[in-house]
Symmetry: C4
Subunit: 121 residues, 4 copies
């Protein structure tokens, strides 16, 4: 398949509630598609309101595969702080597509909402 | 009408819950508009986390018509697996517009959310 | 202000439930911004699954004004059929911005979801 | 990091319910990311259905920082009128990314929906 997508993406919205909140069962996710025939190496940086960015978080996606990445699960170089606004920037070495989704983990993780992220022209 | 749309689209998010789950009543849909004066032939490929893509699913849309396609109904070459993350890529021979929508089949299929898909520049 | 927006927009998703359905209180809306200094004349065409398009619906937006247009209220040349899938295309003579929104009329018409429409490049 | 984003953004949808309504607990927000190494000065103009635009509201975002701006909190040059449709245009002196989000303030301000705003090409 001819490559489809862009190499740079950004999501301005981000927030993971703490476990003690009512909303502990929602998960914040970035769905990433690598439709091409080469492995995708994706570096993710997280931005905050009042401290320096953290990253890169490194993700690898095999050719012709999709990854539904949960921000909740990111650990290295640091867990994503809860109850804290953040943004994210994705930089890949091949074209990918990124969609920002909020999931409800109670019921087979059905998405509550979803929006195509910003792609750098 | 002057043609409007793009020939290549992608949706990174996709998930159909199994019938046994609480969310069995939600449907995942791609609304496709062919506003032009020529028939649209659309090939859809589905991408997964851990297996090769499946497709093409072939859809035809008459000139000046819209199709609200349910992923739940796709059968050929294979039904869409339930409880499984997937992404989709649409390739058409004329410009189309694709919007990704989650429906609630209980109440006249009102949409729960919807987002314009990624269009290849 | 320097002009911002595009002259051609499309929304692939559209559905107005009938009054007898549970969802009668939801409204389908297109929010249209004319940020420029010239009046905007917008022609809207509706597309269906199994009949020819209907339109144009003609809307005028004064300079530096916004219009939150409800599809439910469109009357001329024909009311929008209920319980029927449709798509819409917007063609303006000046740049505008279009956002697709579903409203809940019970509570001060708070939006249930919203997504930026497709803009022709 | 190489700059990412655009300098001009628009959100056609906007509505803040009054405190007396059922929906008083929802907040309307614009998440703004300044991923670059220079401070961002953002001028925001609000557009209405039946009066002249109000603005600029001036916001400053430090380099490599995100701001989750609530329209509810805007005060200068005027508070945002409640129960009133509005649109917004963002003009920055460096590239930024803007995402439109509706929050529920009851539960750690979890977002109800979110959509990438319109970016001027």
């Amino acid at each position: 398949m001819e490559p489809i997508g862009r190499k740079r993406w950004a999501i301005a919205e981000g927030f993971i509630p703490s476990q003690s909140s009512f909303s502990e069962r929602t998960l914040v996710s970035a769905c990433i598609l690598n439709a091409g025939d080469r492995q995708a190496h994706v570096d993710i940086a997280l931005f905050f309101a009042d401290r320096e960015p953290v990253g890169p978080y490194r993700v690898t996606i095999s050719p012709r595969r999709t990854l539904h990445l949960r921000f909740n699960d990111l650990e290295e170089p640091a867990a994503v702080p809860r109850d804290t606004d953040f943004s994210s920037v994705f930089e890949a070495d091949v074209p990918i597509i990124v969609q920002h989704t909020r999931l409800d983990s109670r019921h087979a993780e059905v998405s509550l909402w979803s929006t195509t992220a910003y792609a750098e022209a």
